[in-house]
Every structure is written in C-alpha cells, then in structure tokens.
Amino acid sequence: MITVSELTRTFGTFTAVDDLSFHLEKGEVAGFLGVNGAGKTTSMRMLTGFLPATRGSVEIAGFDVMRQSLEARRHIGYLPEGVPLYGEHRLREMLEFQARLHHLPRKEAKRRIGEVLARVELTDRAEHLIGKLSKGLRQRAGLAVALLPSPDVLILDEPTSGLDPIQRISVRNLISELASEHTVLVSSHILPEIEAVCQRVIILHQGRMAANGTPEELMREFKRESAVTLEAFMPDPADAARLLGTLPGVESVQQGERLGIHYAFKIRCDDDLREDVGALAAAKGWALRELSFEKPSLERIFSRIAFEVEAESGVKPAAPVVRAESAPIAITPLLSELPLAGSTAPVEPPAPKKIVYNLNPFDSGRDRDLGKPKSTGGDDS
C-alpha cells in the first residue's frame, strides 16, 4: 500500500531525512517513532506529497505521489501535526468541505459524516464552531476529517498529542479498529502508544531509519539489550567479573562504580540469567544486595538508539533506569553498626523486621560468616 524507497530530504546543508525505505501492506498499522527532530514530520509530509523529496520516491496505493499526485492524494487521509481546521466553520461544514474535496456524492457524504462523527464520539458537537472546541476535541475533529473519505492510507502525525489519558485510550482503540480497513501510519514520540497499537515499528533517528520490524522482531534483534544487574559485596570484584563472564549466555560484564562497599555489575545477556548469577553468588558467598532483570522493552531499544553514544560508555547512564531505589544506598544501616550511629537520624522509614547483613569492614568484617545475618529487626537503626 505504501512503498517508500530511498527517500531523502535536505534543507540546505541539513539532511532531515536520509535514505528512508520501507514497505507497508494493506491493513498494516505502523508507527513512526523518534525523538523530536528525528524527521518524522518531514517524512510524513513527503509521504503525503506536501513536501517534494530531494531524492527517492513514494508510492501510495500504486501511485507515485509526485508524478500522479492527485490520484495518490485521493487515497490518503492525512492528519497534519497542528490539526489545521477552519476555526470559523462548524464541524459539520468542515466535514462537508472535505467531502466535496473528495467528490463524495451528497447522500454518501451525509452518511459518512454521521458515521465518522459517531466514530470519534463528536456527534453532539457537529454544530459547534471548530474554533471553540477544546484541544482534545479538535484533535478528534481532525481525525474525523481525515477519516471522512475512508481513504486506503491514513497518515496521522501525533494523533494523541494534547489528549487526556482517557481520550488517548479511545483514540488508540480507534486506530486499532481502523487497521482492518486502512493502512495506518502513526507517528509519536510516546513509546507505549506505539507499542500498544502498531504491528510494525519504524524507528527514526537523525533522519535515518534505525530499526524497522514488529516489536517482537526488534526485541529479538536487540536481544543483547536484556541485562541482569547485580550488586553485591565481594572480596575481589575483578575476579567476580571474570567469573560472571564465564556463565553461559553472557555477552559482556560491565563493572560499575563502587557503591559504599558494594560493587555493581551490569551483565548483558540474551536471556534471564538471574538464577545462574544468584547460584554463582551463593556459591562464592557474595553478599547480594540487588539482583534484577531488565527486559529489552521498546523503550530500551529506543533509548539505546537515541543515546547510542552515551549508552556505549558504561553502566553509569543506564543506572537510573536499572536501580530506581538505589539513591540513598544501604550505608545507613551499616553506619548504625558503628559506635557513633546512635546519634544519626534514621534516613529510611523503619521497616518491619528486616534482615541486615553486617558488611562493615571495620567491624570484624572479613572473618565473619557473611552467609548469616548478624541481627534482625528494623527498630535498631
């Protein structure tokens, strides 16, 4: 239904879209994903024929958008970014205008207007002035206008921006419903949106296509994006890293910063290796503080692509994503073990019955059996 080949657009020396190629079948719902300025809107404008491409071609329903522009445009329903509508008209008049532009016979137009209004739940607003509609209603009005001629291809530029969460869900459902009759291309910078609606995700980054596939495919492709985070105390972190690296399925082990007396590791692997890592820790007698698994969500893949450079540099930038609760670090209970501890105010709210491992190196540390809790009870801090 949509065939894009080697689409490129430059503005002066700036390349907004670079060599974009993809193909969408009838009934497919695809999501354009990218940070602001990634080239989503420019691509969509070229797809609809509003902006001529510097190089490459776009075919909609078999028609080249530049050479057979009018034929191609008859098959496109386009909702531009700012939802342009004539504010001085009533919603019904705007829809009638769109119906005339698409040469719908009068009877058919009347029926379709009723249908699309019901579909976007604006039947009771048909006689309202568009200029007086709220942003969310306006957004849905724009959707109704794009839907009216029941085009084969729907191109929606950020259809959910400015909507409240409830409307967002209803628009999302609407888009899923439309999939049966139309080929839909939605752009968004909101990930869950795309993840929920689209069978195919096209990730744009700096004008280039960074990924293209179903969410599952992408996750498989970026499988090494799954990671196990380990935080533990151990006598020899370098040796621990080496040992972790020998576990089957481990791609790489990155040693992060030292948090108090704990060492953090980020183990990139192709599967959930928590049990293996846990077993290793138990065997080696490391005192575990955190062991968590991070699935390769689209979000990870997306941020991975968007922040490629930073992500490569180590655990640090990814750290906030992994350890949400880590900030104050567990030094506080350890401090409490020190003689001075009585005077320090409790930093964490007292938790009911908590096992505290004493890992204080100043307190007979190494010789103690770390496998056993030294004390129990949350009221001693």
Partner: protein, 248 residues
C-alpha cells in the same frame, strides 16, 4: 474545475464568517455612499455621469482599488500557511491552480459585490424618476469586476510571498501602486524610439485601458484581453509561488 468552485465556496463563506469581510463591506458602503452623494452634487444631479465616476471614472475608485484587494487577499494564503491549513489544502485531491483560482474568484466576487452596491443608488434614483442607460452601467460594472480580478491576483501574489498577513497587505499596496504608476515610467524612457515607447506604455497603462472603454460604455475586446492577460500573468505567478512554497 470543480476544485475551483469548492475553494471559491469555502473562501466566500470564510469571508462572510469572519469580521474582516463585514468590516470591509461596511467601510466600502460608507465610502461609496459618500462619494456618490458628492458626485451627484458635482455633476449637478446627473445620475448616469455620477455612476460612471463611481465605477472607474473618478480617483476615489482607484484609491479603493489599491487599498481593498490586498486587505481581502492578505489572509488567503499567508494565514493558511501559518495555521497549517495550506498543508491540508495542498494534500487534498485538488490542484494548486484550483486553490489559487478559487481564492482569486472569491476575492473578486466580494469586490464585485462592494462596487455593485452602487447599483442600489442607481435603482433608488431610477425609482425617483431618473432615466438610466443600463447598458452603460452594466459595461462599467463588468469592467470594474475585471479590474478587481487584476488587483486581487496581485494581492494573492503578495500573500504567497509571506506568512504574515500584514506584510502581505503592505506588499499588495506597494505592488498595486507600482502597477498603476508603470505608465509614469514614460518620462524615464526618453531614449527609446517614440513608437516603441508608445506601444510599451499602452501595454501597461491600466487606467487608460479602463477609462477609454468600460467607463464610456464601450465593450472593447482588446481591453478585455488586456485585463484578462495581466490577471492571468499574476495568477500564474501566484500558482508558481504556491508550488515553490513546498520547497521552502
């Protein structure tokens, strides 16, 4: 062709749904009324002569022609470019030239209505017993519409050049004044062969073409072609500029 009609209907509705259209209408009615009264007094009660003064014979007509069309057309492209409506129109199954023609037609019709208000005075005078040469009035009215079309197409060119309606309006005034004063270039072309200069001036002299035929009640195809030709040039330019906007 149907595209022109669709855009024309939308633009007419737009003009009458916004205050601007009504304000201009009111202004023109007041000005027309005042001048008609003045003309009647000047001509000593000759309704026919007053009407031909009001429809192109007098200077007030040209002042209105320079000032009003840019105000009508200033928003037609520039405002739509700013609001994104142009993106909607240019991705709708309709040709760029239909968009421009529809808008030009709407602006011209609106101006035609404004100047047509003079006919009300004619009707009133007739009901009071004046005898009128309706053929003459119809010809003058036809000419007025042709001149309106010319200045509206100049206004549209100005409007496609900028995203700010106000700048479009001023640019329109400027271009209109330039268009009207082209014939004063004659003095600077002294070096040219007199015959060539003469024929050159005849090709750009809007006022002379208008006053030598329509105002006198004569329908001359040469003058009709003159106005249609210039209007076509500017409409062509506006269409090309609209297309060029896609590249910006």
């Amino acid at each position: 062709m149907s595209g022109v009609w669709i855009v024309f209907r939308r633009e007419m509705a737009g003009l009458f749904l916004t205050p601007l259209g009504w304000v201009l209408f009111l202004l023109a009615l007041v000005v027309n009324g005042l001048y008609f009264t003045a003309f009647i007094q000047v001509t000593g009660g000759d309704v026919g002569a007053s009407l031909s003064l009001a429809l192109g014979g007098g200077y007030p007509f040209w002042v209105i022609m320079v000032l009003l069309p840019p105000l009508l057309t200033m928003r037609m492209v520039s405002e739509e470019a700013r609001s994104g409506m142009l993106e909607f129109l240019l991705t709708a199954p309709i040709r760029d030239v239909s968009v421009i023609l529809g808008k030009a037609l709407a602006a011209t019709s609106f101006l035609g209505l404004l100047f047509g208000s003079n006919l009300i005075y004619a009707l009133i005078c007739m009901s009071l017993g004046a005898t009128l040469d309706w053929g003459h009035i119809a010809t003058a009215m036809f000419g007025t519409v042709l001149v309106s079309a010319l200045f509206c197409s100049i206004g549209l060119v100005a409007s496609t050049l900028t995203n700010t309606p106000l700048i479009a309006a001023f640019l329109g005034f400027f271009l209109n004044v330039v268009m009207l004063s082209l014939r004063f270039l004659e003095g600077t072309l002294k070096g040219l062969d007199a015959g060539l200069r003469e024929s050159l001036m005849r090709k750009v002299d809007v006022i002379a073409h208008f006053q030598s035929s329509f105002v006198r009640g004569a329908l001359d195809t040469a003058d009709i072609v003159f106005f249609l030709g210039w209007t076509g040039v500017f409409l062509f330019l506006a269409t090309r500029l609209l297309e060029a906007r896609r590249w910006w």
